[in-house]
Amino acid sequence: MKKVDAIIIGGGPAGLAAAIELHKNGITDILILEREKQMGGILRQCIHDGFGLTRFKTTLSGPEYAQRFIDEVIKLYIPFKTDTTVLEIADDQTYSDDQANSNNQTKSANQPNTYNKIITAVSKDGLIQYQAKAVILTMGCRERTRGALAIPGERPAGVFTAGVAQAYMNLYNRMPGKEIVILGSGDIGMIMARRFTLEGAHVQAVLEIQPVPSGLPRNIQQCLNDYEIPLYLNHTVTEIHGNARLTGVTVAKVDEHLKPIDGTQQYNSCDTLILSVGLIPENELSIDAGVLLDQRTKGAIIDEHFQTNVEGLFAAGNVLHVHDLVDFVSMEAEKLAESAAVYIKEGKLPNCSIEIKTDHNIGHTIPQKISGNQDVNLSLRVKSLLKNCKIVICQNGVEIASRKMKKALPAEMIYIPIKANKIKTMDYLEVKVEC
């Protein structure tokens, strides 16, 4: 079995950034495993620009943004293996170094094995198993589907998630259809509205069940308003029609409980329905490895070191929680790499026992646990649109950090720095909203 200090699962923006940062921190024995033919993850199909404004102070397309990291990985001679799918991550304390490597006579049998993660992967070259000290989970996310949403009606061809439509158009040169309705105002949905329009398809409308758009304001302007594509808030698709190809959708206005209002149903003829209704972190490997998930993020519960409940397993990027901008994904993965490097060198990390709790206005926080010994940048999302509010972080009723906001949108991640010197006890922190 091959031994590696750090195995990175997924060569997208998070994995690439983690690899480079690990290397900068002195960990050079790394292997990136990527299931696709090329690295870059979902950025490969994001040919629009707007990436890198925060990270590189310039606007790049998705492939350009990814290429900067790929070039760096190549320059640093960081090994990667594409076309390789990881089947399993096992936490195996029973493998001794002697078993795994009989040539290694220097270590005694009773010394604890630090290469205690077994990663099983397959490629055309065969089934390979690796032993690693640390595993970095950077698998990204998948899209919510029509089935998960349980949209009523028939099941014709012509219902695509936005990412699938984007892949067909940008990677495969294939048009999914001509008369388009888009459900969900997520960023990819709006970007696809513009993309379809530019390629000669007719986008009838973008529908959003919530009273506020779920994507970024800049995309509403640049992708919808600039092309006169109407956005209908408080609207949803209540039925899908067609037993072969999609023939149309029934659209209805919804009430404040998001239930369709009787009498507002309208039939729209179209051949394509695009769904941009949310992303779900792709954590199947993590779950099988024993990683506990936060039911709010669907990503791992992590501490300030980005370490999961399974020691030596770290997670960052969209596999942890869905980000607005890829820049933040890279930056989060870089933070992860700093602490993973310490873990690989020292075999352990400081304990994090201070929990972070939230009130009903807060969707979630990352991390969910901290040590109190170092400054932390807390990321969080609000659950609904809030105006003129203050987000407060307290310990034992004492404010230790806060941020005033004129407008807090669920679509925009909020970052609040917490200073270690403000944390006085090991009691939990509470994040709440004051209006």
Partner: protein
């Protein structure tokens, strides 16, 4: 009009029943053809059901349903080994709470014993919870011989084995007319709807519409005809001159849950049945998902498979009374199926009818109302039908008949060592295309080049489970589409999802194809 050669037997309908008949008939020296109106063998009732192998206790003693179900149940291991499809005799419970329900279960048990269903017992709450930990109920009827199978794999296996034994399969052939000629042979007129199949396009008007619809007529002749048309059994029966069968559809909707739930349900859990309907149940599938359903709505439209909101809400609510693990976050898809039920003038559901009426339609085997337990009973139904034929014509055994059929070896079901060896033998097994269900390139290539010549996306799906996982093809469908284009030399506009007209793509983004 193109005319095919004379067949000894033409079977109308290539579903589970038609294919079981085709397979069992290929044991004899007969020239057999199957006419299927869809583009694959499991688009209707055969692929849209609970996938439960029934014990045979729920049917009135003395009926064909009871007898053939018990027979089918008993031979399922042998069939699954011969034909290489997954079957699991996992047992099943019918869960009750009230005294009245206890009486019904006791009655059901007695009826089951009379029918020849073995091992039935009434169990108490403690035993019930040993069998299915989370189930809600005070007692249950436990049927250890009930089981589950993969209905797609089973139907495909029957059809492929029939095909390997010389049976011709014709897809996209809807029978529109049957005439009995003076020489006693039958002349069947069929209609082809589909387009875009290379060599089949007649229309020249393809410039404006990338998906032209053409209809083409064709004639087939045969000495024997079999009506195994499922939902179309009434129509075909009328064409044969056998009038008066009233067929109604019982439409059932289902929700499919994520595989993570499968571990919580070791066997199907049913409520106490009424006389006419099994009730909404939760069923573990052979691949580890859970299905919730079905309701039972009487319908006359046999082509509408939509699932309404009220129905999904009702299924989840109703089944949650039996099993508490139904959460919307685990929904991955929904579907519906329609059972063809033969009813009398009062609407009472009748037994299976398998007949030859020599005076009206000699040499025509007429199968009416083959609904549940048709999946369990398919092969006994086929043998029963062939026996009717044998009473009228001597059949010579086909010495070359081979009952064995090998399916596509599934990577995900192998051990680590087996996987390793398989990739060494065939590197395409090392390339995972469908992440959720762990389906490899090799499996997909085998499915695209399936012996029946099915070329749709669902054809690959039913044969490999690709696109059946929680991402529903979000990761793999572009690759599948591309592979179908390349392997079968199709244009992108010719690739179909499932049915005739279910085009996936409207064309290229740019005419120059860089991909």
């Amino acid at each position: 009009m193109k005319q095919e050669q004379l067949y000894d037997v033409l079977i109308i309908g290539g579903g589970m029943i038609g294919s079981a008949i085709a397979r069992e008939m290929s044991r004899y020296k007969l020239k057999i053809g199957v006419l299927e109106k869809n583009l694959d063998v499991c688009y209707e009732t055969s692929g849209r059901n609970s996938a439960v192998v029934h014990g045979g206790f729920a049917y009135d003693t003395g009926t064909l349903k009871a007898r053939l179900c018990v027979e089918g149940n008993q031979m399922m291991e042998e069939l699954s080994q011969e034909l290489d499809f997954s079957f699991k005799r996992c047992g099943k419970v019918l869960v009750g709470n009230t005294e009245e329900e206890m009486e019904t279960l006791e009655r059901t048990l007695k009826q089951g014993e009379k029918n020849g269903s073995t091992g039935l017992e009434i169990i108490d709450e403690e035993r019930l919870h040993e069998l299915v930990p989370a189930v809600v109920g005070k007692f249950a009827l436990f049927s250890p011989n009930s089981g589950i199978l993969d209905p797609f794999a089973y139907t495909i296996a029957l059809a492929e084995n029939a095909h390997a034994n010389g049976v011709d399969y014709f897809f996209d052939r809807e029978v529109t007319d049957i005439i009995r000629k003076e020489d006693g042979t039958y002349l069947l007129t069929v209609c082809e709807k589909n387009v875009s199949r290379p060599g089949n396009v007649l229309s020249t008007n393809t410039t404006s519409n990338p998906h032209p619809s053409t209809h083409k007529k064709q004639e087939f002749t045969c000495r024997w005809v079999v009506n195994a048309a499922g939902l179309g059994c009434g129509k075909i029966s009328e064409m044969l001159g056998i009038k008066g069968y009233k067929i109604i559809g019982s439409k059932g909707d289902y929700i499919i849950l994520d595989k993570r739930t499968g571990a919580l349900l070791p066997m199907p859990v049913y409520p106490v049945p009424s006389n006419t309907y099994m009730g909404i149940h939760v069923t573990n599938t052979i691949d580890g998902n859970v299905t919730v359903g079905p309701n039972a709505e009487l319908v006359t439209d046999f082509e509408y498979y939509g699932v309404p909101q009220e129905s999904m809400d009702y299924l989840a609510e109703s089944a949650s009374n039996l099993w508490p693990h139904i959460h919307k976050s685990d929904y991955i898809r929904n579907y519906s199926g329609i059972l063809p039920k033969w009813v009398d003038e009062n609407g009472a559901i009748q037994d299976f009818k398998i007949e030859i009426l020599d005076s009206i339609a000699p040499n025509a085997i007429n199968l009416i109302g083959i609904e549940s337990p048709g999946l369990t009973a398919a092969v006994p139904i086929a043998r029963y039908a062939i026996n009717l034929m044998k009473e009228r014509e001597e059949l010579e055994e086909n010495p070359e008949f081979n009952p064995k059929r090998n399916g596509i070896k599934r990577f995900s079901e192998l051990t680590t060592d087996e996987k390793s060896q398989l990739i060494k033998d065939n590197p395409d097994y090392g390339e995972v295309i469908c992440r959720c269900e762990m389906v490899t390139k090799s499996e997909i290539l085998q499915a695209i080049h399936n012996p029946l010549g099915v070329s749709t996306l669902t054809g690959v799906k039913y044969r490999t489970r690709t696109m059946m996982g929680r991402c529903q093809g979000g990761y793999c469908q572009m690759r599948l589409e591309q592979m179908i284009e390349e392997e079968l030399e199709k244009k992108e506009t010719e690739v179909l999802y499932g049915r005739q007209g279910s085009w996936v793509l409207s064309g290229k983004v740019r005419e120059v194809d860089y991909s």
